[in-house]
């Protein structure tokens, strides 16, 4: 089976190795540079606030975007490596060929799964390690590892997402037995689940904290927190909708003083947030969910394939 797995996946391995090498080089070079830049800026300016260093990494847009693009790695692996694994054999009818050689169907499936699941998870782990290391500097600068693309591409979650996407691809391939539908189903399913979990579940892994403050832009949160949402309450305690009725007393106040005026008028801002200490528990919780989903999907794919009748 080693020969067969290698022969069928050697092109994919070559592409992945090449891309990984290029990516790693770019990460290493820019990461070191950015760390140096940041370190120098901090020394020069004493206590460097985020505002001073806002434009420190302006020239690094390309690599920053590339790192954010690793958000797509799970779905790419799931749709283009995992989904065709079983579906293409069914498409070409070559499953009738390989399942009537001297290798049992179980052994065939085990070897294939071990290689693809193992390979994809290893790749995701490698990319995540690179991104996490590289992100040390931007995280220190922006304190933003807890939200959005950063949460999805550093530490544990990208590996769990990849495992989920791969399992989803295998399940789609096993169920649909045609490559194109399986690819589409994998992409659609992955996006749907990730969005649903991200929007409805993620804020609630741990109970978020609340803080009330004066009317105005985000209160000062510790670096590394995740601001889930911010609501402006009117003096009676109701959340203000789209149309803000500025009280007459503040109608002709200058832009700089409007916040103070609103606060004195009784407006409050309530923020919902997760402190930095919630980061790791939530990484574990969300990763755990996706690993559990992956396990279920893998089990389905295995059973379905072992019972298939080409």
């Amino acid at each position: 089976m080693t020969w067969l797995v290698w022969r069928q996946h050697r092109a994919q391995v070559a592409w992945a190795a090449g891309a990984l090498a290029v990516f790693a080089a770019a990460i290493a070079i820019t990461g070191v540079h950015m760390a140096d830049l940041y370190g120098a800026a901090v020394r020069d300016d004493g206590s460097a606030g985020p505002r001073l260093l806002d434009h420190l990494f302006d020239g690094y847009g390309a690599i920053i975007d590339t790192v954010h693009l690793t958000l797509l790695l799970p779905v790419v692996l799931g749709a283009f490596v995992a989904a065709p694994l079983i579906a293409r054999e069914a498409d070409l009818a070559t499953d009738a060929l390989v399942w009537t050689q001297s290798v049992t169907r179980r052994r065939w499936l085990a070897a294939k799964l071990a290689a693809v699941v193992g390979g994809c998870v290893a790749l995701a782990a490698g990319v995540s390690a690179l991104v996490t290391w590289w992100s040390g500097t931007p995280n220190a600068l922006g304190g933003d590892r807890f939200h959005g693309a950063q949460f999805d591409t550093q530490n544990l979650t990208p590996v769990a997402f990849t495992l989920f996407a791969v399992a989803l691809g295998l399940a789609a391939g096993a169920a649909l037995r045609r490559t194109l539908p399986a690819v589409v189903a994998t992409v659609v399913g992955y996006v749907a689940v990730r969005m649903a979990v991200g929007i409805f579940v993620r804020p609630h892994w741990l109970a978020p904290l609340h803080r009330t403050g004066g009317a105005g832009p985000d209160a000062r949160l510790r670096s590394g927190s995740w601001l889930v949402k911010s609501d402006l309450l009117d003096p009676s305690g109701h959340a203000v909708g789209v149309r803000l009725a500025v009280p007459r007393s503040c109608a002709r106040v200058s832009a700089q003083a409007i916040d103070g005026c609103m606060t004195r008028a009784g407006f409050r801002t309530v923020i919902t947030y997760h402190p930095p200490g919630h980061y790791w528990p939530m990484q574990l919780a969300e990763s755990g969910l996706f690993v559990a989903l992956a396990a279920g999907l893998l089990a389905f794919a295995v059973v379905r394939t072992l019972r298939a009748e080409p």
Binding site: M1, T2, W3, L4, R7, L92, A93, T94, D95, A96, L97, V98, W99, T100, Q101, S102, V103, T104, R105, R106, E309, P310
Partner: protein, 307 residues
């Protein structure tokens, strides 16, 4: 060599496979002695493919049991997989792989792989080893697939309409190479087709499948010997049905005319007996089964097992 072997290469006992739309194979029973080339013949949709896939371990029977080379077909039994070769109807190959790569696949997945056997076959037939198989003709692709199927030296070879899509010359060459293979090796072949003339040449055993049932299963020589066209007076018709098996009755009016499988003393001497070709006999079985469905009061023995 192997014509009188006592061992049974393929055995089906009440085999059945049910899909949502109905039974594709139903109560199918026959035994194929080893060393035969057995033709599996029947109309399209008669259940030939389903039967072969069950024998190859690719489909699970809904009812009954089967044994190939003494083992129940099971895709997870390495001994079974080693001794049974299978070639599917659409001749599946990896389109962008060369013939050489397919042989390497055979070598990698089969411990008992005979590379010389497979390689020599392709060389003798002039099949290029280093071209993508999608660029080869249908006949060449069938030969490549056959080389992979026999390279592991199976004891039983199951071929599902391997020549259906080939032109007549390619068909003849495929069957000839199959015959040469038989001559040199201890092998039993089950070969399904709806093209009877091909089967007549190379098969020494025949199974006729009608609507999922084996209505005839016997050595070709026996079939030819025992099936006759009987013509005679009306009174002979009842006598016929009593003592022999009437396969297809196409009597018209006062003259009885039927294809009969003789299984007793000769019928009424007033009857004429005519020899029949294998094709005529098979057609009689196919027609007789259809008639049995539509005109139940004809004096026909039921379509049961073939033995």
């Amino acid at each position: 060599m192997t014509a009188a072997d006592a061992t049974v290469a393929i055995e089906a006992d009440g085999l059945g496979k049910r899909y949502r739309r109905g039974w594709a194979v139903e109560d199918c029973s026959f035994r194929l002695p080893a060393g035969r080339v057995c033709g599996l013949v029947g109309a399209n949709g008669a259940g030939k493919s389903t039967l072969i896939r069950m024998l190859a371990g690719l489909a699970r029977p809904t009812a009954g049991r089967a044994a190939v080379d003494g083992r129940a077909p099971d895709g997870n039994d390495p001994e079974f997989l080693r001794s049974v070769g299978y070639l599917a109807q659409d001749v599946p190959l990896y389109p962008r792989w060369t013939a050489r790569a397919h042989l390497a696949l055979g070598a990698a997945l089969n411990p008992a792989w005979d590379q010389d056997l497979a390689r020599d076959r392709l060389d003798l037939l002039g099949i290029p080893l280093d071209q993508r198989v999608e660029q080869l003709s249908g006949g060449m692709r069938a030969q490549v697939a056959l080389a992979v199927a026999i390279g592991k030296r199976p004891r039983v070879l199951l071929l599902d309409e391997p020549v259906a899509a080939l032109d007549p010359l390619a068909r003849r060459e495929f069957l000839a190479s199959l015959a040469v293979l038989m001559a040199g090796h201890d092998l039993t072949v089950l070969l399904s087709s709806h093209l009877l003339p091909d089967l007549e040449r190379i098969c020494d055993h025949l199974v006729v499948l009608v609507e999922g049932r084996a209505v005839l299963a016997d050595d070709v020589d026996e079939i030819i010997r025992t099936h006759k066209l009987v013509r005679g007076p009306e009174s002979a018709r009842r006598a016929l049905a009593r003592r022999h098996r009437v396969v297809d009755d196409d009597s018209a009016g006062p003259v009885a005319s039927a294809v009969v499988r003789l299984q007793g003393p000769e019928p009424d001497p007033a009857c004429e007996l005519h020899d029949l070709s294998l094709e005529d006999i098979v057609l009689a079985y196919l027609a007789g089964a259809r008639a049995a469905r539509t005109v139940p009061d004809l004096a026909l023995a039921g379509a049961g097992e073939g033995r």
